[in-house]
Symmetry: C2
Subunit: 476 residues, 2 copies
């Protein structure tokens, strides 16, 4: 693709401008979870819309109504944008978000979180730098660099940028469902840049995420909390029962002890197994991110598979029991244990729930307790997985090789990114996760940053990807 060279050159020339664009975006504290910042979220959306229009795109600020449960607040608008309208070109739908996590200097930031601050290693610190303002602006930068380089934009770009991602993506599913056959109708593929490389050197393409089934077990006995001196030994204690049941769910090596769960997991194919060894990841990387050498596994492949393609069960905590420092001699009257199962293909939500419910009911029955037992489904979200051999992925892999000189890692995420599944189900199109940032970016944490290299080479990557998509996907 000889027309990529002038595009890349132009990205390099424009890098200061692109960094200024990110600086302007970071300066707007678009924190979606704080009521007082809602006007800043709206301001950020409007700023983004103006940027798209200034580049020749068309934009609609789609209002999503009141925030459910907090009706004094309007949801920030979803930015529906379009750049290019050539029926001969493929249509690529890109998603991102312009809101950010909360941040205050006093949380422990080394610099003002809303002033982009670049250190001598090229690390650009600022809330939203990597999550997700940098990646969103990457698409705009790509448009601008094509224009300045005089290189024809290879696709029609359909943009969906939301302002509530860090606050439950309220209203987004409904919008996608409604626009699936309207604004998003022509989309041929979907690309989302909102996750991270596994390490710091090698890009990845992400083709799956685990789902999450979250449950609660409630056990109640006495009418009120009791003094353990006065009643210890006399009453059935809800904590004793709950701890027994929670202890029956998973063993210390992470093996889920609920009968039938393993049978639901899709067998590993040889083709899939071959994806793990090349992944740029070491046990040292893992220990560093765990903050300790407490990994269950000794081999990197096992750890990666455990995280990406096998289920897990975590015990999160207990509501209603004593939880502060100190020593309280209480028999809690009602306790609720919380746990969740990360799900993978082919674990259907309801099948998993059926097995879990049967298991905990049987365990409680075994106890022969006079306490009362209730099982609650708190929330369930399904896993998502794509065919990594789809032309959408082939295009992205070629772009990575062209920009970075390496084949990308093919990864799946352990945590959920629900919008992937929504796009897949509502549009029926292939969805690709193409991250820009690296594992050290500290999204959601203090001192969030995006490396200049990731931002500039990432902008090249997004543009190159669009060219390769145009090569792989021909419109009829």
């Amino acid at each position: 693709m000889p027309h990529l060279d002038p595009y890349f050159k132009q990205v390099d020339s424009l890098q200061d401008k692109f960094i200024d664009r990110l600086r302007d975006a970071v300066a707007i504290p678009s924190i979606s979870s704080e009521d007082a910042r809602r006007p800043d979220v709206v301001k950020m959306g409007e700023w983004l819309a103006e940027e798209i229009k200034a580049l020749g795109g068309t934009v609609e600020l789609r209002q999503l109504g009141k925030q459910p449960g907090r009706e004094h607040l309007d949801l920030p608008p979803c930015i529906l944008g379009r750049y290019g309208d050539d029926p001969k070109k493929p249509n690529v739908l890109v998603y991102g978000h312009y809101d950010v996590q909360p941040a205050q200097k006093s949380d422990g930031w080394a610099t003002d979180p809303f002033i982009l601050t670049i250190d001598d290693k090229g690390r650009m610190f600022g809330r939203g730098s990597t999550d997700d303002k940098g990646p969103v602006l990457g698409w705009l930068n790509a448009i601008e660099a094509h224009q300045k380089a005089g290189v024809e934009f290879p696709v029609n770009l359909i943009m969906c940028f939301e302002g509530m991602e860090e606050n439950g993506s309220e209203g987004l599913d409904e919008l996608i469902a409604e626009e699936a056959k309207k604004f998003f109708k022509e989309a041929d593929v979907v690309c989302i840049s909102d996750n991270y490389w596994l390490g710091t050197e090698k890009p990845c393409l992400t083709y799956g995420v685990r789902g999450c089934n979250y449950y609660a077990i409630e056990i109640s006995g006495p009418g009120q909390d009791l003094h353990s001196g006065v009643y210890g030994g006399v009453t059935h204690e809800p904590m004793t029962d709950l701890i027994k049941i929670m202890g029956s769910l998973v063993d210390p090596n992470g093996k889920i002890l609920i009968k039938g769960i393993d049978d639901l997991v899709a067998p590993m194919t040889e083709q899939e197994a071959a994806l793990y060894p090349p992944i740029a990841f070491t046990m040292d990387d893992l220990h560093q991110s765990l903050g300790n050498e407490c990994a269950i596994w000794d081999k990197k492949e096992d750890a990666l598979k455990a995280k990406m393609r096998y289920p897990s069960l975590s015990l999160h905590g207990i509501e209603g029991a004593f939880y502060t420092p100190g020593a309280k001699t209480v028999i809690p009257a009602k306790v609720t244990g919380k746990f969740s199962i990360r799900t993978v293909p082919n674990m259907e939500i309801d099948e998993v729930t059926k097995l879990v419910e049967a298991h905990v009911n049987a365990e409680f029955k075994k106890l022969n307790s006079k306490n009362t037992f209730k099982f609650h489904i708190v929330h369930c979200g399904k896993w998502w997985v794509e065919d990594p051999n789809h032309p959408n992925y082939t295009a992205a892999a070629k772009a990575v090789e062209r920009v970075f000189g390496v084949k990308p890692d093919m990864t799946r995420e352990g945590g959920s990114i629900p919008v992937t599944l929504t796009f897949q189900e509502q549009l029926g199109k292939n969805v690709l996760l193409l991250p820009m940032g690296s594992s050290t970016d500290a999204a959601h944490s203090i001192n969030e940053k995006l490396d200049k290299r990731n931002y500039i080479e990432g902008t090249k990557l997004l543009g190159a990807y669009l060219h390769y998509v145009a090569g792989e996907i021909k419109r009829a």
Copy 2:
């Protein structure tokens, strides 16, 4: 004892005055655990001292220094009082406390907690009414009624009334140790009125309390809390390990699963076994106080023994795990499980600790986890038990029969009253718990009350007890 009749009559005549005395005491909000109320605690101590002096007693306000760990606060004084100094009479040391638990109308009280309010059933509502201002004033009322009746006071009364009982009894143990051979030197027996009848109709004498060994198990793994999506299945999870160990301590029927604990428990003698059947207590009483039919036992004797003379183990809660409502997908990095064992004769504190530590260490080793395990002894207090056939008890039993017309229940308390053991160990004298209030008094709770009957007949009881003590215990 014919001289009891004029005394009893006088108590009846003075009952309005005695209720006024309690009203004045309740009006001083002597909450020892609230910094801002400390002057009220001191005021209450001074008020009590004046009352004793007005009756012809001598009083020393013993200053106990600064409050440990909160050095901006002076501890309230301990009231050391004396009434009578006849070397031919026995000396009875009585203990009580003049501080109270916190209370605010907004906690749910039906009336102002610091205005004594009497309803048409004779229930006198007010904070401290039963715990422990009513019983403390009972001793003073007894003095006054003897004076007005012209009946000679049968003993020398040594009084020890502290102002920090509801806040850890700071400074008391040191004071008792220091005064054992001084102010308390002449004491022949000790009587404490600061616990409750088992029910509402029948008085009891309490000859034992369980001890409490409180432990914590700390398990840490990852360097910081982790996202269960990203790391579930990859790392050893401290919660999984902790729940397994906590689950190994006790079974749902309250049986302690720690090897060797049962062997430490003193066998039941026939004489002791005979004490339980006559106790006025039913399974209905138990269910009512539990607030539900979740008792482990079907027979009253079994329930009473479980509460009074067998050990129990309660799991109190977990520090460091998720505990609020809602659903957080966290892998807690460090969790601390809290549990305690109520101990009984002949379980020595250190022997129990040794067995517990060996058990939890062995359980952790079984897990084969790479997490880190620590065992903490939080605090341990020993059980106390007296010979219920001692003349001190015989005297009290005769007094109960004289005032109430029934033989008292002989009981042990499930919870701890550490001062009993301190007096027993430091003075080497027999200690008796002689309660005034009933099981429905709601000490520590909202709408605390003392029934008029319990206060007035209780005053008679305390006075009668002193006469019978004088009959049973002759000074050389």
